[in-house]
Symmetry: C4
Subunit: 368 residues, 4 copies
């Protein structure tokens, strides 16, 4: 009566509807290109210390995806990050209360960011041969961006749980994304956002890509803490609509939409693209890889917040899947948690589409 609310849908709510045509998997391309960088599979890694470090990022790059590392992660704060991660996992396995675990995570992330460590990590990435992508938080982007770019970063990801083009601050200076991006020499991906209006404003900052979603998965509690909930199918479709409007408004500037959050299986990957995403950013699903820093465990970047943590290290499943089978198959088992992009390829074949851009038009159904 007094309020209206918009009906929204999760990826679970929807299904892909086959068409009257099918194709061979062999004739299908899952390639994705942003700015000058081309990738064989539409994958970015979520910059969580649990799943990606410079070594993993290099491996992901060789398999066709884009490994994004957290410029404010444990790698940038500790000389022996793997030891810190092991200690967090051991504590999580034995702690009597989750409060202890949350406190230990906050502690580990309270160490200062070291520019030396960051630079070293970037070098490892660059030497590995893939595209060098680093994530910074909106709070610290201003102070750290030039340094990481000097160190060789090719793609900058500015990502918080919720980011806006217009951050109002009573005192002190806030990050002006538009002028900030204009001053940089590298393409920038920004996010997350969750609706048409914010996506449009983020596109207008000059970003090459916009992240949709808060990156949340099973191990995140943003919805219980803040009440901010994102129904990803609706959020992606909204951002894709913003992409079309902005394309028209600018006479041809195409800003990529990257879906981050609530993507657990190969079916979810296919549905995210089907809803209009150009690529997906995966965190939790990569935690089963044997090469993941915290193999078998995951926590979101927001777990480190000093006053309002959202999530903490939780076990996510097996820890022994080779990353190549996880991404490109053949599948291990039949639960949709491996061969994530081989299954995308097959879903496209079964519905008769030959590239990602076409597949964004596939029919969708909504469960009752």
């Amino acid at each position: 009566m007094g309020r209206t609310a918009r009906r929204s849908y999760t990826l679970d709510d929807i299904g892909i509807v086959p068409t009257r045509r099918t194709r061979s998997s062999a004739d299908i391309s899952t390639a994705w290109q942003i700015d000058a960088y081309r990738f064989e599979i539409p994958l970015l890694t979520q910059p969580s210390d649990a799943v990606v470090d410079p070594d993993t990022a290099v491996a992901v790059g060789r398999l066709g995806g884009l490994g994004v590392i957290d410029g404010e992660g444990l790698w940038a704060r500790h000389a022996e990050p793997r030891r810190v991660i092991q200690e967090l996992i051991e504590l999580a396995e034995t702690a009597e209360s989750t409060e202890q675990v949350v406190a230990a995570v906050q502690q580990a992330y309270s160490a200062p960011v070291s520019v030396d460590l960051l630079t070293e990590a970037v070098h490892t990435l660059r030497d590995g041969g893939g595209t060098v992508a680093v994530r910074l938080s909106p709070q610290n982007a201003g102070s750290l961006a030039q340094q990481v770019i000097s160190a060789g970063v090719e793609l900058l990801v500015i990502q918080g749980t919720i980011v806006s083009a217009e951050h109002v601050q009573g005192s002190g200076e806030a990050l002006n994304l538009k002028s900030f991006i204009a001053d940089l020499d590298v393409p920038v991906i920004v996010g997350g956002c969750t609706n048409y209006q914010t996506a449009t404003h983020l596109m207008r900052t000059g970003a090459a890509g916009v992240i949709v979603g808060t990156g949340a998965g099973m191990t995140s509690t943003t919805d219980e803490v803040l009440g901010i909930e994102v129904a990803m199918a609706t959020a992606i479709a909204d951002a894709a609509a913003a992409r079309r409007s902005y394309l028209d408004e600018t006479g041809g500037r195409y800003v990529h939409v990257i879906a981050a959050g609530d993507i657990a299986t190969s079916a979810d990957v296919a549905k995210a693209i089907a809803c209009g995403a150009d690529a997906v950013m995966l965190g939790e699903p990569l935690s089963e890889a044997d090469s993941a820093p915290a193999a078998g465990w995951f926590w979101p970047p927001s777990a480190a917040h000093p006053a309002l943590p959202r999530g903490y290290p939780l076990p996510t499943g097996s820890a022994d899947v080779p990353i190549e089978r996880l991404l490109n198959g053949p599948a291990i088992g039949a639960d949709g948690r491996t061969n994530l992009f081989g299954a995308l390829r097959r879903a496209m074949a079964k519905t008769g589409y030959s590239d990602l851009k076409e597949f964004q038009k596939v029919g969708l159904s909504v469960a009752h």
Copy 2:
């Protein structure tokens, strides 16, 4: 075919939608003012003996909220209420059937209300320095109101599960809220109600605030016993609409809407305000406070009904959270059960609103 029913939504059904703007938490005010009384956080305690007694009410006041104590609670019936509460909990822990527990609760509340004990409790509150607020039932408000006001009560809460402005009684006298409130020297908050029409009528009684909802939570069984169910998101939005109409009708009298029931996490607090509430009344969520009289246990006031009890003492979780961290943080763990109002502040920041009145306009989504 023969009947129409209105579609309604719970707080769980809805989500808060970010806008294109964000703010710093530091620039945000969660202050709330009713009549001459101003509070830093929009909190009233549910007058349940399980969570609030004069001492807790004083503590809540110091932390910025309003502690409401039950004028017909165990405090007003027993010289050693803490002992009675301990006995109820011990029985609940060992009883073979819930029937025994229900009967013991009924028994404990069958002792007569003592005006001396009530007066003593009010003095404790007044000496504590906060606003002195006491709840009376509609049945007993007539006989007890003047006494508690004489004892120093500043805000009177008249609250039953369901209260109406127009109680029809064949014989005997019923409480005429309008003339009753007109005769009192203190502002009155009345409720609960669940829809537009009743909220409007309660506003017309001259009340300073109207309670929306029956105060139900996990430990209440009103819906199983009476079939009266309240979808809080809809009920709050309805009452907020009534507030607007009444504001217009009276040329400016603003009656506060207080949401009571089905609020379990900080997300629910934020959603209740987002739906249009001016403040929330919390019971169960406060039962984890180490200072709660029945720390770790809860029962609703309706558990004491002699013929049709709805609820009984049930364990609700830990019992060792300092009340200040429960209300204002920092959070313990990541489940949204602590730092309830710090998280509200952050939800407002993330969506770009600087005060509660503005935040009532934030966008809402409805899960499929």
Copy 3:
């Protein structure tokens, strides 16, 4: 695309919405009258051997309701029905497979109906002082009706899972309800039906009451076996609409609507009346009475079907509730399973209605 389906609602889907008025429970009447018979509570017993036999029916009558016994039940087939029931329960407690239990139930009900036993039971009922009501199946009503009426039956209930006014049979004679009812000297209640059209046709047979629903509860499997599902809130509202149309069509003949099925708590009783029922027929909820023949167990009449049984004896809860507290309170515990009609009275009071006919107009909400 090729088919349309009507949206329908269960009692669980809906909630009762309070009005701007409340009343005292003392001023409320739950009386119900059908033909010349008046009852203080709107209760008929489901004619299941598990919950009602002549003795229980007498007790129910004394408490204000109408006890209906099954004219084709174990009472009419065995000289010692209580022993047969005990054996069924003992088997159900120890059997290795439900198939054995189903077979034993079929066996017990394969004994022939004895007119002597039936007559004896009717005498017990008549001597008990209440209204004498017996249920017959549509298949056997033709051959048994005159006998039970001669024995003193005052109200005849003709009830199958699904009954229609128009039973088409290729060979042999079918029951013509209209001429059958016209020939009888007693009022007849018929059912179950589940929609407007069938209810209308059953009303046109001259019945005094029409049963809505298949009598199903937790222990019935009609929906899994036949696919025939009844969303009771919709079915009751439909039948009430048929009642209004038929009232208009006949210039004043009021046919009572009796809701049978999916009523488990006092909330469900209140909701059934709120949807438009004049009375409820209860089976499973009465099985907790200490006086029930199979106290603590229940099976529906359809459990006895030789080729397609739907349900079998299942434990339903405690077996020690005095029938008077079950019906009229005070409640034992707070789960809505006792004080079924005291709670109805209170739900009416809380929403401001003074009799059942008025309460049929109370507002309803549908959960999202």
Copy 4:
């Protein structure tokens, strides 16, 4: 905003609504005829090695249904298929991970198809006296069809998870269904498909029947792997609409619609017909038959896929139901898993319909 999705319903979402008429079960026919072949019950077996082999197919034929065997099944690859099946089950019972089981299934199905074994199986079927029906995959239909027809196949089933009339292939030849079917001397059933457009195109290939659905049940994971989900009630209704349009378009060619997938109980069988299917194809529900090759276990044909398996052997329940009771009753127990077609007959009787074609018009309701 940017995308539209069609609302769709599963068989669980809907219910059958009785009419104002009932009939005797004795007057009802469940007969179904496709091309020159008439069947007493509208049943095709899903061509899964777990439930059907030549012997079972003969038994199903004697009971009035159509046994379809998998022309590329274990029977066509191994001289002792029963031993292979036993080994798979033993492994599934003891394996430490599902990955091992999946790998063993892939291995068992990697043996080459032997035309001799296939021919021998077809002879067994023909000698058994029923209609000889064999399934081939779209990939292998071109190379194997003439051989199985020469061996005596009377009905050819070309079935993959998703099949289209128009398979686009960059290189190599794809199966042109239209010319392929035109060249064959036997009627062809093709599928699965899931929507109106594809069903129409498959009808235009000259097929005698079109399969709706992917054949999925509890043991399939197609939805988790590919994101392709089929809400069967909607899919069947769509295909039935395509049947009507095509009937009109061709001036009288009636293509049968066969529902395959998500049919677990007799209620589901009745609902599938009620939605517009002419017959149902059952797999998992037949796995409880004592004569099933893998009695008590099931896996879908798609479990054998070398790179993207969807499903693996899982236990499904008891393994000791005589196939005649499973299909035609009397029922064992009351859970709708036996007497599948006797219950269909009764559902038709209870709603007053005398044949399947009429029953396709029965009313449907959608649960809230």
